[in-house]
């Protein structure tokens, strides 16, 4: 008797729990969300420095929830899963903006420029890029570029561009970014092709070139390539501006060279997802980040290229002289922008796997 009662009771309990969770959670609290003094920021950790966040919170009284991702692809997966909601401001790479705009259900919404008066501070040279020609969806945040850094004590050759990395005197002494588009892009540049080449025949040629480069490479490191340069493990490498700057700080003898065929650039942009819960606060945050003074604080901290004309007068002299951070405009004109490889991604992947296994 008792056993049967127990069974019935437990079944009723299980069913009611299931029913409650399905019903109770159905009504999401989106009604009172838009008046909350909160903004959800989603980008790499420390990309928006702590002091800037605190300034914003003090000035506007809006709390910033700073969530992180490690790669653009992760961010896209999460955004797709939450159907363009949950986050208010996202900072991600340029090619990602292109991908998100192309999706069947567009995940980003147009940014109302009239609500962002500081938009006028953005240097015109960085607007109107290939992935968003009218800057309808995106506002530039910062710019990164890949440059060559080497130790002149160990590398006797005069390094001018990407082609020099193939030199046989550099055997076993290079550090490259652990990034397929970066390295394969180098081979494509050497052959005179675009880094966004999708023709399988040309990619096969790039693969051949890479086999000649392989003996020169000692380390693949996308996160801290400057480390091996500083401790002498490697004597020449390709890395992003902020990493080059860190390399120079660790060993002032190192030299920076802008590749003469043009650098690979990546522009990181501010975007607003289509179902952002706090749109007004998103606009306030974006406007704040475009303020000259705050922008200079950002660049001082992250050491990527600053795209804000109003920030220049606040920048410390050592930053303006830092070759890794202040890249002259002519280089941008020569620069190459990474675009989504689309269907050729598989080719890139297989070339990369084979290259690394050699």
């Amino acid at each position: 008797m008792l056993k049967k009662k127990f069974k019935v009771l437990s079944v009723v309990l299980a069913v009611s729990i299931a029913a409650f969770s399905l019903a109770g959670c159905g009504k999401s609290s989106s009604e009172n969300k838009s008046t909350e003094k909160v903004v959800n920021l989603f980008t790499w950790a420390n990309y928006v420095p702590d002091n800037v966040i605190k300034d914003f919170e003090k000035k506007t009284g809006i709390k910033v929830n700073y969530s992180n991702f490690a790669t653009n692809e992760e961010m896209l997966a999460k955004l797709q899963a939450v159907k363009g909601g949950e986050y208010d401001v996202i900072i991600c790479a340029d090619y990602m903006v292109q991908i998100m705009g192309k999706q069947k259900q567009v995940l980003i919404q147009p940014i109302d420029k009239s609500a962002i008066p500081n938009y006028k501070n953005i240097d015109k040279a960085y607007l109107g890029q290939y992935f968003d020609k009218t800057n309808k969806y995106s506002v530039p945040y910062s710019l990164g570029s890949e440059m060559i850094v080497y130790n002149p004590d160990k590398v006797k050759k005069d390094i001018k561009g990407i082609n020099d990395l193939w030199d046989t005197s550099l055997k076993g002494s290079e550090v490259l970014l652990d990034d397929p588009r970066s390295v394969i892009g180098m081979a494509l540049t050497k052959l005179g092709y675009s880094i966004n080449e999708t023709d399988p025949a040309k990619l096969a040629q790039a693969k051949e070139e890479l086999t000649k480069l392989r003996p020169n490479v000692k380390v693949f490191d996308a996160d801290t390539p400057h480390t091996s340069l500083i401790n002498g493990d490697t004597s020449i490498g390709v890395m992003w501006g902020s990493q080059a700057s860190a390399a120079i700080k660790g060993n002032p003898k190192l030299k920076i060279v802008y590749p003469q065929d043009g650098m690979q650039f990546e522009e990181d942009n501010l975007i607003v997802p289509v179902k952002a819960p706090h749109e007004k606060n998103a606009e306030t945050l974006i406007n704040f980040l475009l303020d000259g003074k705050e922008s200079s604080k950002v660049t001082t901290s992250i050491e990527y290229i600053n795209v804000n004309t109003a920030a220049k007068k606040y920048m410390p002299q050592e930053l303006l002289n830092n070759k890794a951070v202040y890249v002259p405009q002519e280089e941008l004109k020569k620069g190459k922008h990474l675009e989504d490889a689309g269907s050729a991604s598989k080719e890139f992947d297989s070339i990369w796997s084979e290259f690394k296994q050699q």
Partner: protein, 262 residues
């Protein structure tokens, strides 16, 4: 003569194994006192990173989140795992064989699949992503670890003690409370510790199931890689190591004390 050489070799072997495990950790601790930001060149001792750590709200919040989630998930999964293990080991019912196998799924399945499926599930229920969803997700993959641990302990269990107690008039619940639990307690604890470590460690499932207000520590650290790991993290690791050592030492001391009393 031979045994002396053998003994030396054995000792060298043990030392090498411990070095392999602990030298990297020792380096992290040493570099937490490094005067510059580099993790390559050591240039002077400073406590600056520890002060920076205490002032870094983001990291502290992430740490608190991770610990809270780990503690709660471990507690819940310990209870469910123990009860489940006892049921599975001792009862016979239809579908037992199937459930025995299904239990292994959260352990075997790739984390990313579990993360995405949980994300889709919670989205369908229209739940708000946050601490609650994280706890639910962690409990899910922690239960099998506790369950399997307890189950294997129960396999070698001597039922005669329980039967004797029941002969003497104890109710089933009293038997459970005073005999079964104390005897399988070590298995529960070791399962719980494993669950705690896994929960604290988890990155992929956390990423998919967390909300904007609930970043956890591993996500934060992974994301910091892009802009340079600060020795703040070394400081954090050192503190966590200290905390672990303190807990271990305390537990051993209480064990010894108990033995002395008996």
């Amino acid at each position: 003569m031979e045994s002396k050489v053998l003994r030396r070799l054995e000792r060298a072997y043990v030392i090498l194994i411990f070095a392999f495990l602990y030298v990297p950790i020792a380096i992290i601790v040493i570099y937490s006192f490094n005067a510059t930001k580099s993790n390559v060149v050591f240039s002077g001792i400073t406590l600056d990173w520890y002060t920076a750590l205490f002032n870094d709200d983001d990291v502290i919040t992430a740490l608190i989140n991770s610990l809270t989630i780990a503690a709660i998930s471990t507690a819940i999964s310990a209870v469910i795992g123990t009860v489940g293990a006892i049921g599975l080991e001792r009862q016979k019912f239809k579908g037992k064989g199937a459930i025995d196998l299904l239990i292994y799924i959260p352990i075997v399945i790739p984390e990313i699949i579990m993360g995405i499926s949980l994300l889709v599930f919670f989205s369908a229920l229209q739940m708000d992503f946050g601490i609650l969803t994280l706890i639910l997700a962690h409990t899910t993959f922690c239960i099998p670890f506790v369950l399997i641990n307890v189950k294997s302990r129960l396999a070698g269990f001597d039922m005669s003690v329980e039967e004797a107690a029941m002969d003497l008039g104890a109710s089933k619940f009293t038997v459970f409370r005073t005999i079964t639990i104390p005897l399988i307690f070590p298995a529960i604890i070791s399962g719980a510790m494993l669950a705690f470590a896994l929960s604290l460690d988890d990155v992929i499932i956390n990423f998919f199931v967390s909300g904007p207000e609930s970043t956890t520590l591993p996500i934060k650290i992974f994301s910091m890689l892009r802009f340079g790991l600060s020795p703040e993290i070394n400081a954090l690791c050192t503190i966590m190591l200290l905390a672990t050592f303190v807990v271990l030492i305390l537990s051993q001391v209480t064990k010894l004390k108990k033995k002395k009393i008996e």
